[in-house]
Amino acid sequence: MRTLLTVLALLALLGAPPAGAQTPGVTDAEILLGGSNSFSGPLAFTGEQITKFGVDLYFRVVNDAGGIHGRKLRTVYYDDGYKPQEAVANTRKLVEQDKVFALIAPQGSPPVVATLGYVEEQRVPMLFPYQSSPVTRGKKWVFQGMTVSDRSSRMMVDYLAGQRKIKRFAAIYQDDEYGKSFLAAFEKDLGRHRLKLLAAESVKRGVSDVSAQIAKLQAAKPEVLFLVLVPGPAAQALKERQKIGWKDVLMVSTGPLTDERYLALAGDAAEGVEGLSLWPDPVTSDLPGVKRYREHMTKYFPKNEPNRYSVAGYFAGMLFTEAAQRAGRALTRAALVAALESTKGFESGILPPLTIGPDHETQKQGFWVRVEKGRFKQLTDWLRSE
């Protein structure tokens, strides 16, 4: 009996949520957005950069200029530590308890894919998830945030096999949706060039040590090794390669991985590494949007260094703002979706002019880079993936 009363009292302490507004997350004064992201675990750094120094950075700029149609933007994030189950619980909380208007920039293929069913069922827009699985394609309420793995793979394989005439490929990949979607895409695209993967070794999510996998891959003698990993294990792979003196292989990183972040961990083991970059160099590019991004970063977060993750978040914030502005003062979820779908030739100053079609993809390109003296140097122009 005492037990029951205690439990009920505890529950009551949680307090009742505020009465629902017409459109959840939209009041006269503010728009509430949220997302489940990584603030601990293997993607803690990228998660924080995408949200607090990316999306929030852009929203600070917008709020200082008066907001969107007079409404200020607020965000709330929960930590899922790159775990799909936590992401499901967090997303539920965001939608049902915090009543966010839309989900913005959640990260990681496994967590995002786990929440897809719920998001579609609840008709909540999920905007620009930072993940590469093609499973999000064709969903009514989801707008892809990153070049999808099959497009990335096509660009990478066509460039390496087609232009540079490389024949021997292998891959080291994370053993989940992120890694497996790339693996499947690689196999398919190599098949078009009448080639196949000589060896593929998997790495469990959350594990850092890859010495056994690298040893086995060396035995297959590939010319190119695709790295479909997150920064920690990828840096380990580079260091391991250096430790065993494996010189005659080219390490190539996939889009989500290609950032100076994992190079910093690998130190000089990263020289000569190449990859597909999805964003212009945030530190050196003089594209107008990137320059503005740097100015804003210096103004609001002077101690934070620019990187591709915060650029991605910044861009997500920018896209949302642009669409919400066009949707007008009577902002509903359906209106936002319609506004996004009618985006034509949007000039961000960061990426090429963007037109969003019925496939809901916001990014379809990348370009080739190689590491020289600790930074990625651009080698090609924007590659096309159609």
């Binding site: 009996m1 005492r2 037990t3 029951l4 009363l5 205690t6 439990v7 009920l8 505890l10 529950l11 302490l13 949680l14 009742a16 949520p17 603030f39 601990s40 709330v76 994030y77 929960y78 930590d79 775990k83 799909p84 189950q85 936590e86 499901v88 619980a89 967090n90 539920r92 909380k93 049902e96 308890q97 496994p110 894919v113 786990a114 069913g117 719920y118 053993d175 989940d176 949706e177 497996k180 469990k204 999510r205 959350g206």
Partner: protein
């Protein structure tokens, strides 16, 4: 007076989905699920003093068995699915309990820790069945023609099963078995000397504890709707231990209160991201230093003082 209070409480419990928003109903279901685990863990640790740091493993087994059964054999009624989940987990518990008979205290804690890891790794590696790291979406439980898809439906399922399990536990505690288990906790040698068959009861405790946790795991799969191996890690086992420590070792009401406190704390602290484990740890330390008997012993002291 007591019966009136009990009746009122029962009415509130039954009408809960009508009184609070669905998210709260979901939380309450979670509390009951965790309470079942806590009761099961208490049977093992509180009564026979075999502390387990691997109960997340049992939880995972129950969850996955229930999920896979619902996917592969959808015609099975939910009660059967849960029973099978519990039984499968009990068998695993037996498999763990027998070799652990020789171990005690420290060594036992480490063996259960290792077990927890191994079980989850096994689930991960059986990815043709469990979809490995990507996780499994669990369809709604079926009770005859009804699909228990809404939060309220799941709540009633959990409440019903939970009530049964609590009643069973209370009964066990009252019977000879319960007394034997308590005797083992006080002193194994003395218990043995007074005729308690040590090995049988210790193994029984493992199996029953596993059964409870397995059923709770199955319920968990239905309530949350999605399971993946990395959620059943050692930190979950620690959470379960925290529940019985905070609530009070060896106490059934304590288990329920402990489960409620930890579950609610978890949800309430979500907005604080990085502070959550910090507060958890501080609570654990504080409990051990200042309230070694848990909330249950505190409450017992208060009622004694009131009398």
């Amino acid at each position: 007076m007591r019966w009136a209070a009990a009746g009122a409480g029962g009415v509130v419990l039954l009408c809960w989905p009508l009184l609070v928003p669905p998210y709260f109903v979901f939380l309450t279901s979670l509390i009951v699920v965790n309470a079942i685990v806590a009761i099961g863990l208490n049977l093992l640790s509180g009564y026979t003093n075999q502390l387990s740091f691997g109960h997340a493993g049992f939880f995972a087994v129950g969850a996955y068995v229930a999920a896979v059964l619902t996917l592969r054999a959808p015609a099975l009624p939910v009660v059967a699915t849960l029973a099978l989940a519990g039984l499968a987990t009990a068998l695993v518990g037996l498999a763990l309990g027998i070799p652990c008979l020789r171990l005690e205290g420290l060594y036992l804690a480490m063996a259960t820790l290792a077990f927890g890891f191994v079980v989850v790794e096994a689930i991960l590696n059986l990815d043709w069945l469990t979809r490995g790291n990507d996780g499994l979406a669990v369809p709604a439980a079926r009770l005859g023609p009804l699909a228990l898809g809404s939060d309220a439906a799941k709540y009633y399922l959990v409440l019903g099963v939970g009530a049964l399990m609590v009643a069973a536990a209370v009964n066990i505690a009252r019977t000879r078995t319960g007394r034997a288990l308590l005797a083992i906790r006080e002193s194994e040698i003395a218990a043995q000397a007074s005729g308690v068959h040590l090995a049988a009861y210790k193994t029984l405790a493992f199996a029953v504890s596993a059964f409870y946790t397995g059923v709770a795991g199955g319920l968990f799969a239905f309530v949350v709707g999605f399971i993946s191996p990395d959620a059943f890690d050692v930190f979950l086992s620690v959470d379960f231990v925290a529940m019985i420590i905070v609530g009070g070792l060896g106490s059934i009401p304590g288990s329920i209160v402990g489960a409620a406190v930890i579950t609610l704390l978890y949800d309430w602290l979500a907005a604080f991201q990085n502070y959550r484990p910090l507060l958890f740890g501080l609570i654990l330390i504080g409990c051990m230093l200042f309230m070694p008997g848990g909330i249950a012993s505190r409450m017992a002291k208060w009622t004694h003082q009131a009398q």
